[in-house]
């Protein structure tokens, strides 16, 4: 006796039984039963499979069987099949090729209930091909006698248009007519579809504005009112004259509709559309405490959302509601805290920055905020770097804050953090001395600062190296001993850290110019060039080592001058030297060879290549002609086509050639013999010096 679906459920609920074993047994039974030709057994199997799918089993392999069950005449079987289909078919499933016909039969069939349940499933699984095929049948259904059918098909159109936008142009007017349908459900479905379309292309649906306005004034259904409010926001974007017309119904709704959901919606709409209207804003400000002061956390949350919009209109509201924002940040509710964070981002001024950052950093350390740690730190960084550090008054304090954040060790923010640090130290000269000292202090504990890419560490090392001229004697010594510690190699940092260390050592010497420092630097660089695993770091160490030990100490002076940052477009004012002109030939072999009798043979012909080679005009002409002849004979050279080739017409030459070959197969052999030897492959000599001695 095969188990029924209920048996399976009961079986799963029994405490003592081994679930996995039970499920596996049921699954193997299903695999057998589903192949049966008896629809009753098949349907039963599909129902059980559905239960297993809720447990995580895959249903797609049974797609064809599901389709068979769907096509049954019996309503219960069809219903079960359609349910399984809506769960497991996807728009990219292959089975949908077969299912299209089934759905077409259902849509044109006489049985209302069957059609209804088919539309339910169709709305979940329809893809572009099906949309195209079934569009016309759906349009016919728009005029069905039963309102439930019309209602369902109206909302189905949304999915059809999503998948097959071309159908929109043909059918949309028919759909728009349904706005005046007598059944409110049909109107609701149509409004929903039109709203979704307006989000994509508002001008397309604009002509329905009149009908929509009428509905707005007559309907009492809150769901519809909300959708219409949203719709009109989209429409006003393309037709500003609507603004005046809708102000009346919006004000009416704002003052009369008791539902909080509608109230919220219309308040948001007014903030977007009527932000210069003082009357409207006054009413909103009256309503706002109803949200913010409410005991219902949902309303509090919505109140903060409204506040956000209001502050974006007029920053002065921020002062009044500061208490709410601070309270919200301390709320037990994560969602409300996140909203509060958003508000803090837009209400902080340069006066309140220090206080705000202090509060935020306190929040970061609280264990309850573990989930939103990232958002808190992003907000800090956002505020600090806002509009090119507009809010910051004391950069030394800012740098201390940045170092504090480095200690929080958030990997996501490291890149941004290090770029802000470097940016601010480079731009603000007065900061450099303090920044060096602070960086040095932080670097003392470099062991703890290890992360995946070590961007923060690299930035700090760069700062103490680049600006080591600001160090006094003592600190310079400290810095040097810090970067020469053997511990760096042991801890296996990211490559960029070692690169930065080598550069740092080099720069420290450059600034200091003392002998004892010189020895320490050279020793360190020698070690680096051997001990560190990364090739790039070794190479850099060697490079610096070479410069320090072999070059004339006087020539090092040119490195001592600090490089200033320049604007990217300044590069355009510097002309490249002659050697880098366009017709610079990297390897002569590519262009020509000198034959044994002294003449030059060219392989490629380019005007610009002749620039550097001294030749008379006559010689040039001869050379060009030689090249052209060679190209005509060369089977590998693609000749430039003269005039456009017509599509679809094979070239006559090719056809003739084929005919020729068919008649006389020996032609091919002759052709082969005629071919000149293949051109010499150019060789690249990479060891050759770029600038010949």
């Amino acid at each position: 006796m095969s188990k029924s679906a209920t048996d399976v459920i009961k079986g799963l609920r029994k405490g003592k039984i081994d679930r996995t074993a039970f499920l596996t047994t049921v699954y193997s039974e299903i695999r057998e039963e589903v192949k049966s030709s008896d629809l009753v057994i098949k349907t039963n199997a599909i129902r059980k499979l559905f239960i297993l799918a809720l447990e995580g089993y895959d249903m797609e392999w049974a797609s064809f069987h599901i389709l068979e069950v769907m096509s049954s005449d019996k309503f219960s079987q069809k219903h079960s099949g359609l349910l399984a289909a809506s769960q497991c078919f996807k728009p990219n499933s292959d089975i949908l090729f077969l299912a299209t016909n089934f759905f077409r039969r259902e849509l044109v069939g006489n049985n209302t209930i069957d059609t209804c349940i088919s539309i339910n499933t169709l709305s979940c699984i329809v893809n572009a091909d099906m949309s195209k095929e079934l569009l016309n049948d759906c349009v016919t259904l728009l005029n069905a006698s039963k309102p439930i059918l019309r209602k369902k098909v109206c909302i189905l159109f949304y999915k059809l248009f999503l998948q097959y936008p071309d159908g929109l142009i043909a059918c949309f007017e028919r759909l728009a007519e349904k706005l005046r349908d007598e059944s409110p459900g049909v109107v609701m479905g149509t409004v929903n579809t039109i709203y979704e379309l307006s989000r994509i292309n508002p001008s397309f649906v604009l002509f329905t504005a009149q009908a929509l306005y009428e509905i707005l004034n007559t309907t009492t259904n809150n769901f519809v009112i909300i959708k219409l409010i949203k719709l009109f926001i989209e429409l006003v974007k393309v037709e500003p004259r609507l603004l005046k017309k809708i102000s009346i119904p919006f004000t009416r709704i704002l003052t009369s509709n008791p539902a909080k959901s509608v109230e919220f919606e219309v308040i948001m709409a007014i903030c977007v559309l009527f932000h210069d209207s003082d009357d409207m804003l006054r009413i909103i400000l009256q309503k706002l405490p109803g949200f913010l002061d409410s005991h219902d956390p949902n309303l509090k949350y919505l109140g903060l959302v409204i506040l956000h919009k209001l502050i974006q209109i007029n920053i002065e509201y921020a002062e009044e509601y500061k208490i709410f924002i601070m309270e919200a940040l301390q709320s037990k509710d994560v969602t409300i805290r996140l909203r509060a964070l958003e508000l803090i981002k837009i209400t902080t001024t340069s006066k309140s920055l220090v206080e705000t950052i202090k509060n935020l950093l306190i929040e970061v350390e609280k264990p309850t905020n573990a989930g939103i740690k990232e958002e808190l730190i992003s907000s800090c960084l956002y505020l600090l770097s806002f509009n090119q550090y507009e809010l910051v008054e004391d950069f030394k304090w800012m740098f201390e804050v940045l170092l504090q954040i480095v200690n929080f060790k958030t990997e996501i923010h490291e890149a941004q953090l290090s770029s802000i640090m470097l940016d601010v130290v480079l731009r603000v000269e007065e900061l450099r001395e303090d920044a060096c000292e602070l960086s040095l202090n932080t670097l003392e504990i470099f062991d703890t600062l290890k992360s995946e890419k070590c961007e923060a560490l690299t930035a700090l090392i760069f700062i103490i190296g680049e600006f080591s001229s600001y160090f006094n004697e003592e600190n310079l010594g400290r810095a040097l001993s810090l970067v020469t510690k053997p511990r760096w190699e042991l801890l296996n940092f990211h490559e960029s850290v070692y690169n930065a260390l080598s550069s740092c050592v080099f720069k420290i010497f450059i600034r200091a110019k003392e002998d004892r420092i010189f020895d320490a630097c050279v020793k360190k660089l020698q070690e680096n060039s051997v001990q560190i695993e990364h090739m790039e770091s070794q190479e850099r160490s060697l490079l610096y080592l070479n410069i320090l030990t072999t070059a004339d100490k006087e020539k090092l002076n040119f490195v001592l001058k600090p490089f200033l940052p320049i604007h990217p477009s300044a590069q355009n004012f510097i002309f490249p030297p002659d050697a880098l002109q366009q017709n610079f030939i990297v390897n002569d072999d590519e262009l020509f060879t000198t034959k044994s009798d002294g003449t030059i043979e060219y392989y490629y012909y380019r005007e610009e290549d002749f620039g550097d080679i001294p030749m008379t005009d006559q010689e040039k002409k001869v050379a060009k002609q030689n090249i052209k002849d060679k190209q005509m004979q060369d089977p590998y050279y693609i000749k430039p086509k003269k005039g456009k080739k017509k599509k679809g017409k094979k070239s006559k030459k090719l056809e003739e050639k084929v005919e020729e070959i068919k008649e006389n197969p020996d032609i091919i052999k002759d052709e082969e013999a005629k071919k000149p030897p293949s051109p010499k492959k150019y060789s690249v000599n990479r060891a050759e010096p770029l600038i010949p001695t």
């Binding site: 209920t6 459920i9 609920r13 009753v40 129902r47 559905f50 239960i51 809720l54 995580g56 895959d58 797609e60 019996k74 309503f75 219960s76 219903h79 079960s80 349910l83 769960q87 996807k90 728009p91 990219n92 209930i113 209804c116 349940i117 539309i119 339910n120 709305s123 979940c124 439930i148 209602k151 369902k152 909302i155 189905l156 949304y158 459900g185 609701m188 479905g189 929903n192 979704e196 989000r199 259904n221 809150n222 769901f223 909300i226 949203k230 909080k260 959901s261 919220f264 919606e265 956390p297 949902n298 509090k300 949350y301 919505l302 037990k332 509710d333 994560v334 969602t335 409300i336 996140l338």
Partner: protein
């Protein structure tokens, strides 16, 4: 629009899952796992809205079941809460004082009810009477079929 509705038990079992947008099986599993973590055990004194990826989750606990709905950011959150409430009320009317057991054993009915209420992620019927009438109609047809097969087999 509404992207999905999930009914999750206190222990994390998915009792009902309806997707109105396309999600591959893997994506569904991941989604369900993450949402279970976010919603189960959440204090009912907190607000019902959660930010999740580019969506907002509206979650409410009714007795031993968590009703979770995933909506676009632009949708009205309070209305989505209404949708959940409406769904629960319909279930209640249909099953006469619904409890989780009803949904465990009659999950297909829950899906059928949901289908009459929401199509393509939008609510299309706000009258409980209408929906219940349609479902009663469907039940009748199924009953007739059952009687027919029984009389045929006997």
């Amino acid at each position: 629009m509404i992207h999905f509705i999930l009914l999750i038990s206190r222990h994390g079992k998915i009792r009902c899952s309806k997707y109105f947008s396309t999600y591959s099986n893997k994506e569904r599993e991941k989604l369900q796992k993450e949402i279970k973590g976010l919603t189960i055990g959440r204090n009912s004194k907190l607000c019902n809205f959660l930010e999740y990826k580019e969506m907002i989750l509206v979650a409410k606990r009714y007795a031993s079941l968590y009703f979770v709905l995933g909506q676009d950011k632009e949708e009205n959150e309070l209305i989505s809460l209404e949708v959940l409430q409406f769904f629960v009320e319909i279930l209640d009317k249909y099953f006469k004082n619904v409890c989780e057991l009803d949904i465990i054993f009659n999950f297909h009915k829950a899906y059928y009810l949901l289908d009459e209420m929401l199509v393509a992620g939008h609510i299309i019927e706000t009258s409980k009477k209408q929906i219940l009438r349609v479902i009663a109609n469907q039940d009748e047809i199924m009953e007739d079929a059952l009687v027919e097969t029984e009389t045929r087999s006997s």
